[in-house]
Amino acid sequence: MVSTASTLNPPKEKLWGGGHSPFNIEYGKLMMWFFLLSDAFTFGAFLISYGTTRFASRNWPNPNVVFSAYPFMPEGKHAPLVFVSIMTFILIISSVTMVLAVQAGKQMQKKTVAYFLLLTIIGGAMFLGCQAWEWHHLFHEGAWWGRNPFPNADGTMAGTDFTNFFFTITGFHGFHVFTGVVINIVMLIMTLSGTFEKRGHYLMIEKTGLYWHFVDLVWVFVFTCFYLI
């Protein structure tokens, strides 16, 4: 009886029975997810140590006062958060163009992939340019690792915790953006030279896409923790 039933209804393939990917995902993509998970812990530890230090301080500089400059600013015309909100939107839009590049890759449209990758690279480069300008500006105001010209929100003297954390964490994030731009440039060259077309799939773009979105994701947290609250 049992054997008849099993021939009529073959047993459902077991998820972890082997012979196929239980996560229905390519090996490299899974490893990228694990890498990003570990990176999330690195950034999480950074931001939590920042939060701990902030909770251990009686007062803290006001971000609306510190980050109120923008390029070509007329004398005395401060506008808090304007420049950093532009940076945020640049990164969101570059994330969107990356999704579209991945999507075009699934359709095997080489030219569209190259076009959206190029836009993503431009977005990343613009973000890096903005960050370089901001660091340059803060440096000229006297801020650097170990130096903090900004008083606390209540007018008391501030230590150097604020600048140390700011430059370390935005620097680490900026380095991720820089790496992402370099990887995307490599991907653009490989796309244009037809490597992925010969390979028959654009899975590599999906993996770098994951990395690029993660960079955007980290910025959401850095932006909130340093500039807004």
């Binding site: 996560f23 701990t52 909770f55 007018g155 003297m157 947290f221 609250i229």
Partner: protein
């Protein structure tokens, strides 16, 4: 997610259109959330520290988490992956709940201890910074 390579061109094309529509929707949501965050950030500017101040900061943090959800779920495509993968990625992150609460509590406790027992800390923490004008003079 079905394999678009083996799917026939028509279904593949409609799927593509649906995905692009979803991307546009998520972009709009992320932009609106960012604008709300910025407005709340501006509103904190001259606000005295109090209940409303902390409430707005809490709202900003919740909006941040919503943005993070949209980026991971839709841009990173995690929502459409197998359940096993979703849990593999998301469950380890729950340790952050403990991590954040314990460490912020610890920081706060350290602040209280310093304020209570260190006369030196009290004195330094209440020292006023030189005003903007004197700083300006010092610079030049």
């Amino acid at each position: 997610m079905s394999n678009t390579l083996s799917a026939d061109p028509i279904t593949s094309k409609t799927l593509h259109k649906a995905v692009v529509k979803e991307v546009i929707r998520v972009t709009i949501i992320l932009s609106v959330l960012t604008i709300i965050e910025l407005i709340l950030g501006f509103s904190l500017m001259d606000m005295p520290v109090g209940l409303l101040h902390y409430f707005i900061k809490g709202v900003i943090v919740i909006l941040m988490l919503v943005k993070a959800f949209y980026i991971v779920a839709y841009f990173m495509h995690l929502k459409h992956e197998k359940d096993g993968l979703i849990f593999t990625i998301v469950v380890p992150l729950f340790i952050f709940i403990w991590f954040i609460f314990v460490f912020l509590y610890e920081g706060n406790s350290f602040q209280n201890l310093k304020s209570r027992y260190s006369a030196n800390y009290q004195e330094r923490a209440t020292m006023m910074a030189p005003s903007a004008e004197t700083q300006h003079v010092e610079k030049h």
